[in-house]
Symmetry: C2
Subunit: 396 residues, 2 copies
């Protein structure tokens, strides 16, 4: 059975790594606000709302500061939690940040010179307003907004296994998307139907090994979001309820979520036999993606991979049809650092996971972009999404 | 035909109202970063990524600053756009914020003393990092983070019509959720099936009047997200792929998106005949919601509505089972200001839309919460979600 979740031991190991980094900065209290970072470190999945939810790493202990509606949820999900501090509600008669100041100063008795935080204040999400940490404590929190994201850039072997599993289900749900796409069908119906079947397969085949984290309604999903015919000219088109027509260039998207980790799979397909121009742009795009795969690997600069892709496009005379770089980091967000971009100063390292998705866009005709998920290993790269990339497999 | 979209005239009217407010502060250049606020003012729907997308209201003109992959998308969606400034990509060799500084200082030639912004910098979303507006321009932008949200609190008549339409489809999709829920079924399958059917109804019955904005895959959706049996004790439970069992207390959620506007409908239901305790907690919850509806109205303090609810719970001896306030504003986000909360200093005004959802939670048994969407009008309130609230209608 492949891996479909992480265990509290993984989370504790991540927290220890974070603490080692904090100790080097002489920090013994660290506040985490970002809900994905909290999930990364503790496995706690919650619905982010206007109510601040803060992970407080303090002298090796894992504490939480949460609204009353999440107290039991934390107990239920985080077996190694030390203390849960809480406030009733936001806004309530006393602002949550004042309760937090009391917890920090009087309960945890934090050392004023050894405190750090991801953010200077809770974010103004869903109507939240509030004072900064400085305002309520009078202390100068050292800001370390990137420390956890820097950890997340290099995936552990277990996380790579989650991405491998996610890629497998992206392939599966994409198969349904291709199968259900017919002339005259509405893109919304087709996308939902494919996602329904792919999700059903995933939860039934994984059975008790399916461990949802609640981040998405569909465990596996695939769709077009409007990238149909001339509308696929917009790289970030949005669903318009379009119907498929003979001659359309299509750009798909598929993914699945395995314990918060999400792969990316996209394909360019055609409704009926492609025209000469459609074939030409498809083959240039494919050559660019091939060139990226051949170039990428450990100790290769991200910028070099993007430059190789641009060279293919330039030599084919289509550089003016380019609207974006070659790819981005993948993990728990739709996009993550680092970027495969000519301006990147990052060198690829084993454990980094990227999308590879060079694209070209011709007005009136559409977009030409495959996207695959690959991981950098010691020797080169491994492409985790396995869906066919050749044109004959993608003509409907 | 009921209203399913706003037109460019609505958006222009909103921008004019914003400009009137800005003029009072002697501001003639204003930068908007929040994608929902940009949609509210212009009708532009985009996928937010790490690439900054900024609406620049400048001397009565509507300008955008966007990455190259969104240039044509803006032209396509915003007929009254004046100028579109762009950068190729993020991170690229020159940071987008440096391009922005050039646009502001050299192209638009902004007045240093008359500039304001929603935020001091683009947000660190999906791996973005960047300097502040001050860093790249040397100018002190006045920060007006709340000016658009303050406008959004009072809904125009057209927006209330969108919410009415959204409520209608929430009712419809909830009907399917109730119909498909059976002992032994998996919550994920049932939620997806109901959302599929409700969405299909919505797009086929509205036909050309269905105008998706691309914010959600399902035009109409309903589900449980884990609020099944003892797990419904967690007010913000997350989907766990649970199966329905005899005796379960269920808490549902349903909504639909109509041109970015989202209603909220939730019901407490029972698998089979409820026990004495289930009936008792249900009827207390219903009495609390009735009391809130009777109290709410124009010129009533939000805090008074919450206090009336708390009084019902206290007199019934269940105040310790309360985990949250009575409700929150509704519009384009899941929650919005103002809150129906004992600590709120807001007075209800015609055009405000709220959820009304007093809840109680008993460990081992589950959660008891209905949520309905209501609008405050000149004479009182109107409840827009019409789904049956009585226990006999909610026993499966």
């Amino acid at each position: 059975m492949s891996r479909t979740r992480l265990t509290p031991d993984h989370h504790k190991e991540r927290i220890e790594r974070l603490q080692t980094k904090l100790s080097k900065d002489d920090i013994d209290t660290f506040l985490v606000f970002n809900s994905k970072n909290i999930f990364y470190l503790t496995g706690l999945s919650i619905i982010p709302t206007e109510r601040p939810i803060i992970l407080i790493i303090h002298k090796g202990q894992v504490n939480f500061f949460v609204p009353s509606l999440e107290i039991d949820h934390v107990h239920h999900q985080v077996p190694f939690v030390s203390e849960i501090f809480s406030y009733f509600e936001y806004p309530d008669t006393i602002h949550p940040m004042k309760h937090l100041a009391n917890v920090l100063m009087n309960e945890l008795k934090i050392s004023p010179l050894r405190v750090a935080s991801e953010a200077s204040a809770a974010s103004g999400y869903w109507g939240y307003k509030g004072p900064s940490l400085m305002d309520v404590t009078g202390l100068n929190f050292k800001l370390l907004p990137e420390i956890i994201m820097d950890m997340r850039v290099i995936k552990e072997p277990e996380e790579i296994e989650l991405m491998r599993e996610s890629s497998k289900w992206a392939d599966r749900v994409h198969r349904y998307l291709q199968e259900y796409t017919k002339i005259g069908a509405n893109e919304i119906d087709v996308s939902i139907r494919a996602s329904t079947q792919g999700s059903h397969d995933m939860i039934t085949e994984l059975g008790e090994h399916y461990y949802p984290t609640g981040f998405s309604m569909f465990p596996a999903s695939a769709g077009y979001r409007g990238q149909i015919g001339p509308n696929s000219f917009f790289p970030h088109a949005l669903s318009r309820g379009l119907e498929f027509k003979e001659g359309d260039t299509l750009v798909t998207g598929a993914s699945s979520e395995v314990y918060g980790v999400r792969s990316e799979l996209e394909r360019t397909m055609f409704m009926g036999s492609p025209s000469k121009r459609q074939r030409e742009l498809f083959s240039i795009m494919l050559a660019a993606q091939d060139a990226a795969f051949e170039t990428a690997g450990p100790n290769v600069a991200c910028s070099d991979v993007d430059k190789v892709v641009r060279k293919v496009f330039k030599e084919a005379g289509v550089i003016d049809l380019v609207r974006h770089h070659t790819g981005h980091g993948l993990g728990m967000e739709g996009h993550e650092r680092p970027f495969i971009d000519r301006g990147s100063d990052v060198v690829m390292k084993p454990g980094m996971i990227f999308s590879c998705e060079p694209g070209i866009y011709e007005r009136g005709l559409g977009g030409f972009r495959h996207s695959d998920t690959f991981v950098v290993n010691q020797d080169g790269i491994e492409v985790l999404t396995k869906y066919p990339r050749d044109i004959d497999s993608l003509i409907l």
